[in-house]
Symmetry: C2
Subunit: 409 residues, 2 copies
């Protein structure tokens, strides 16, 4: 029997999805599972987007242009204008989800053995694209006490080697929800100019900022040839299954190279591009309601978390994730235990263990990522489950034991 590749063996399983079999088993036992483990919003996809597909006059589901339909790309120009990002339609390549934008960026800009610096904790699937491209992810650790602010410039400088070719940033951040400031992006600008690095900017959660305005890497001065924007409509319109994203850059060489990869896979999905195009035409106040909803969910989640003895959760400035530190021995064991051995009033909660978001061994063992993609009532119920679980979890640490003693005292 032929062997699978080394690359395939090194490929990490998704930390977000690996607990799925335990959740399925729990459901079969009649237990209600609150899914805070994955960024799949419960918000409905805007009706006009689905209607655009339903009413399309399409007779042949043809290949689109490899860079995406020109009509859609021209629309996207206006979408970006609203965020003060000035690009023309030829600087936009429509991709199959943000995932493909990341893969294309890696493929076009990095060779096997090259290094990309990412602050950790980071979106775990970057690992997958790095393995596919043979690229090494080097991390510098952000601190939960600071709310996961950008590490100091010195930490980046230390991590830079002769093989470093890029810095990758997710803003607002998945998994931490941290919203990087203009000043923090200026630090990255200086580093990229000094060391001749690409800046990969994953701005999938641009719309969801709760503490001020989003500053795009595309607006960093003198960085036109350095910045590669990786984008998606998945979260923006609660359209994760559309698989429509975009790679945007002003670097013509990068665009030309990405186009060769884009042509090899022929085209992004045609039906979902119709939905994406309709998305740009939504009234601009569409996001006001959505943002208010996420903000109130965030507030419930963070307040509840911080009210549980021994738990600490910095308030996220954007996206719809929070990282929390729990008084536990091991987040992987705890998250599995929650599904396998625990239920409170026939309910439990599913979260993503923190370890999957760190590259440094041992980090994240007391952290979990929670996606606040459920309504407030369900979030409150999920938090009650978590509180009860922490009271009875055999692997709870001294911190909570002491806290409980104090509460009972």
């Amino acid at each position: 029997m032929p062997e699978i590749s080394q690359r395939g063996q090194h490929m990490p399983p998704s930390p977000i999805r690996k607990l799925v079999p335990y959740a399925e088993a729990a459901k079969k036992k009649g237990i209600k599972v609150y899914h805070l483990n994955i960024g799949q919003p419960d918000i409905e996809t805007p009706q006009p987007m689905l209607d655009a597909v339903r009413h399309s006059e399409l007779k042949i589901l043809e290949y689109s242009h490899s860079a995406g339909n020109e009509s859609y790309r021209r629309k996207l120009v206006h979408y970006y204008e609203r965020f003060n990002i000035q690009v023309n339609y030829q600087q936009i390549i429509v991709t199959t989800g943000g995932s493909e934008a990341i893969l294309f960026g890696f493929m076009a800009c990095l060779d096997a053995g090259d290094e990309v610096i990412v602050p950790e904790p980071f979106y775990a699937n970057y690992n997958g694209f790095a393995v596919a491209a043979g690229v090494t992810i080097r991390t510098i650790t952000a601190d939960i006490e600071s709310g996961f602010a950008l590490p100091a410039m010195e930490a980046f400088e230390k991590a830079i080697t002769p093989r470093t070719r890029a810095i990758l940033i997710c803003n607002p951040n998945n998994p931490t929800g941290y919203l990087y400031s203009k000043e923090e992006l200026e630090v990255l600008r200086q580093l990229c100019l000094k060391h001749n690095l690409y800046l990969f900017a994953d701005e999938a959660y641009r719309e969801f900022c709760y503490i001020g305005r989003h500053f795009s890497a595309m607006n960093l001065e003198g960085m036109d040839n350095h910045v590669i924007l990786m984008d998606t409509i998945s979260k923006r319109y609660s359209a994760c299954g559309a698989r429509i994203g975009a790679l945007v850059s002003k670097n013509q060489q990068v665009l030309d190279t990405v186009m060769k990869f884009a042509q090899a896979r022929l085209s992004p999905p045609s039906l979902a591009q119709i939905a994406g195009e309709a998305g740009v035409d939504l009234p601009v106040d569409y996001f006001d309601g959505i943002k208010a909803e996420y903000l109130s969910r965030r507030n419930v989640l963070v307040e509840k978390l911080n009210s549980i003895p021994g738990v600490f959760c910095p308030a996220p400035g954007g996206a719809f994730y929070a990282m929390a530190r729990l008084p536990i021995d091991d987040a992987d064991l705890f998250c599995q235990w929650l599904l396998e051995d625990f239920a409170y009033e026939q309910q439990t909660v599913m979260m993503a263990p923190g370890t999957g978001f760190y590259a440094t061994p041992g980090l994240g063992r007391q952290e979990v990522r929670l996606a606040y993609v459920l309504n407030k009532e369900d979030i409150a119920k999920a938090m009650l489950c978590l509180e009860k679980a922490l009271e009875s979890y055999p692997g709870r640490t001294a911190a909570i034991t002491a806290a409980r003693a104090a509460n009972q005292g």
Copy 2:
């Protein structure tokens, strides 16, 4: 300015799409261009597939399972049964087009520097996936005189090195239209078992066989751990823009490894999976009419081609492509000239130069690939253009000059 990757520099542009700017310029001059260059059928996508999307009750365009919707995979089991391919739904991973099935197969089974043997001429986009995966394509040349039959076992044996890990076959073949027989597949089976190789089988054109029944690599005995089927609904249902394919295998290790790559990109497109599922429910005689149509187009194309002095085109047994040898100096120059400098009654024809389908330098210079994806009337008009063009093309070879002299004599 940071440099693009070596990988990106090595990435070949698509030979099928690189003449597009010339075609656009011709159209701007008011010239009608017959597109025989690309496998985009003019056949309508079956109405029930589009209706299934239109009538779907979907409220949230959610991620699907990373392996595709279970309901769709269960349906596909029945689809494959019709071709006597026995698989269960867990042996099917739905991909974003056949393209992604090829990429995933390469990623899971091959490491950078590994070699895959492909008979040439071959589907040019394999190059793109090979570059992405760092894999080397080694070719053995099939002969136009034999209709591009499988080269002899000895030719394969000669090409095998210690780095050879797989053989890749497209059956029926794109670009040649050759339909490999059960006996030819038996040769590949022996080679794979003897040298412990994977057999990647791209069977995108399974439905379109004009000279007997398709024999799937999945039915080769003792090859369960070797065969990786790469499939797509693009051509089957004239649904190229759906971007729905599948990787099918009985090798559990390969499936597990491919799933890790599938999870990293989250899921295949949700809307188009609905269309794909409806496709399986089409009446089984749906293909009879389509096949008859392609067969009659093939007959017109091949007959017309072979009636042009100096042209030779073996009749393809399947798919909807033909490779023809033309009495010209250089197919790249000729195909460009057709768009830039030629018109007959304000019409011209666009074809894919043969060179793009060969890895061996110099081969294919007198060949072109023609996709018979237009109606018979248009094919006949396109062939008239080709005939007239060959009469006036400055780079015509002695063969046609002599032929013309003979005709006039």
